[in-house]
Symmetry: C2
């Protein structure tokens, strides 16, 4: 197969068939993908400017408006994963020298601060220990002190399992002349959020959590206030791929004829469309209730096993991802490996500030069922029985 | 289905099933996706850090090394489309104030210049009319005058149908202390390229052309020289998502334990792995020969119809995308619409500097067959017979 021209031969392992085991994905995401969404992901594609594709994009837009509870015209999906949407939000909102206040109580605030620094923004940090959330008073002190033009906060802190209350936050920010940017990657569809009523200016999420869509696209929406800040920019955003002016046009959000910008990830959009359709069919309130109920059942089961939940207040627990302290004397890696090897179940250890301290159990979208709670609790009970326990 | 809490009802059109027509995609991409790759795209996923997923990534890396003919350790796929790889290449190589020489003979040079300007680089343009390519002498004059640290050039100019000769270019750049950055989005697998022998420092491509993979991931590779320039950076790249230091670690290119960086687009990687596997099975030389033969058959057929090829020199014609002048008196939109409406065949008009001037016919990967050449020529003949011809 090789010949004189080629110095690098065809790799042998690539000539073997692709094989993947079946797993129950109860970590912080990605979650399992239902057959209907997988079928969409495996459809023959069309051109990125074909009318049928533009219609799929219009339907995605309508689906995001429903999931976000917003009527914002500037609503679309980023051609990248949730992380890419975080960058898109920050780089379109911020110019060099803008002050951004980042609420940090887990890894996502840390990441947002890192990205904003790379963009040349003046980054101020508002800190809380992992497991805590921010009160309106915490935020107001930060706003009064730092006078930021943008506040970044995480609705569902997947590294700590904290659900940040959002009530009153938008209004508070606006009284201080600040825009509110919210990360809802881990919470969307699992906990109530009302972009318009809560006066959120920029909201983004991911596809691979409650929506049960393979990672690769990310919903995002901008309020009129956010659009106005972007229109006032003196400099272009550092990225062309994520420039919201171009993306708004490609997504038909600016009323002008659509121009070619980049080749969209067609199959990611097919599957995102189906994930949003399934959420619309189920209904947001049913989805919220499903996640609430599964999480309550899981928390009760964990407590019954004598385990300690990482987030103290019930109302501050993220319904999609539950964090539980690693029981004393155990190595978290032994526990997650036991579940994987013996039950084909993924749960995760901590991440960033929660690394080594917690186990994280995700129940997202179609995975958020009473049956799965029973399965993971049984597996965890067996793990605690069989894993070596060292005296510390 | 709505209730008092929700102000935005579920969108009705999202509740209809997703339906897509069958089309023969003979535009500049995306091209049709074979069933085996669609099946991979529709597979149940795994976690982005599961060992099986890391193995898929290792196989992708080996597949790219084969397709690029390189032994570069820093070889991986970007979690975005080809455009995103262009940004990744530029933003990792360039720091504010670096001089980059951009060879512009079509839209891709224009885009690269636009991106580099946003990054704060000192952008110098080397211009040629659309349809022309750059000689070694053209380049040498630019290098001598501008003293850039990076030269950007497009191997396959999909907007004009030009194949840029690369022989001697890497060596020339290195004699001037300049790195060579090559865009091979439209050419990879369709025309010979030898990254190591041709001394290319950064090479990237897309998935949706010859590889017949849905858009959403993009192969990229960096030479040792390019790595050294990145290691000498004084500032961090403006993007975290595309930071090659982090990506190198996630892809196992730096010899250190892999850390979580972002959630990879698992299903895009499954399909990219299959596209690379099919190329390895066919063999690069067979793939190059297939594209050469189909393109030659198409060009002959177009000339036999009395049409004029846009690229004069045969050796400068891109084997994957053929540009032909819009015959006098016709509106290109009428022709492409006729093929779409009557034959379900996509061909495209021009783009950027070739807009309005040419028709573009793509024969890429599995679409590059003698049968498809016959189909598109027959459809085009009918179009010229039936489309209204206005006297200009």
């Amino acid at each position: 197969m090789t010949s004189s021209l080629l110095h690098v031969p065809p790799p042998q392992r690539l000539l073997q068939p692709l094989a993947m085991p079946e797993r129950l994905m109860l970590g912080p995401g990605p979650s399992n993908v239902p057959p209907r969404i997988l079928a969409a992901s495996g459809r023959q594609l069309l051109g990125h400017m074909h009318p049928e594709m533009l219609q799929v994009m219009d339907e995605i837009k309508a689906g995001i408006q429903y999931a976000f509870q917003t009527q914002n015209q500037l609503t679309l999906a980023i051609s990248g994963t949730g992380h890419c949407a975080m960058e898109a939000a920050l780089l379109n909102l911020l110019e060099q020298g803008d002050t951004v206040l980042v609420a940090i109580n887990g890894i996502w605030g840390q990441r947002a601060a890192e990205i904003a620094r790379r963009l040349g923004a003046n980054v101020r940090e508002l800190l809380k220990p992992p497991g805590d959330y921010f009160t309106l008073q915490d935020i107001e002190e930060g706003l009064a002190q730092q006078k930021p033009s943008v506040l970044f906060i995480t609705h569902g802190e997947s590294s700590t399992g904290v659900l940040q209350p959002l009530e009153g936050l938008g209004n508070l920010c606006h009284r201080y002349g600040c825009l509110l940017l919210v990360d809802a990657v881990a919470s969307l569809g699992g906990a109530p959020i009302f972009m318009d009523q809560q006066e959120i200016d920029v909201l983004y999420s991911g596809s691979q959590k409650v929506l049960n869509v393979p990672p690769g696209s990310a919903p995002i929406s901008f309020s009129q206030r956010a659009r106005e800040k972007m229109l006032r920019r003196k400099t272009k955003p550092q990225s062309f791929y994520l420039d919201m002016g171009w993306l708004a046009n490609y997504w038909g959000c600016d009323g002008k004829p659509r121009r070619y910008h980049h080749t969209a990830p067609t199959n990611s959009f097919f599957s995102l469309r189906e994930g949003l359709a399934m959420l619309a069919e189920l209904g947001l309130e049913s989805s919220w209730e499903r996640h609430r109920a599964s999480c309550a059942q899981l928390c009760q089961g964990l407590r019954d096993m004598g385990l300690e939940l990482f987030v103290k207040e019930e109302k501050a627990r993220l319904p999609t991802i539950t964090t539980v302290r690693v029981p004393e004397g155990y190595d978290w890696k032994e526990i997650t490996a036991f579940l994987m090897d013996n039950y084909g179940i993924e749960i995760a250890g901590g991440l960033g500030p929660s690394a080594g301290k917690v186990l994280r159990i995700g129940l997202m979208g179609c995975n958020s069922t009473s049956e799965n709670v029973t399965r993971v609790l049984r597996a965890l009970r067996e793990a605690l029985r069989h894993c070596p326990r060292c005296r510390l």
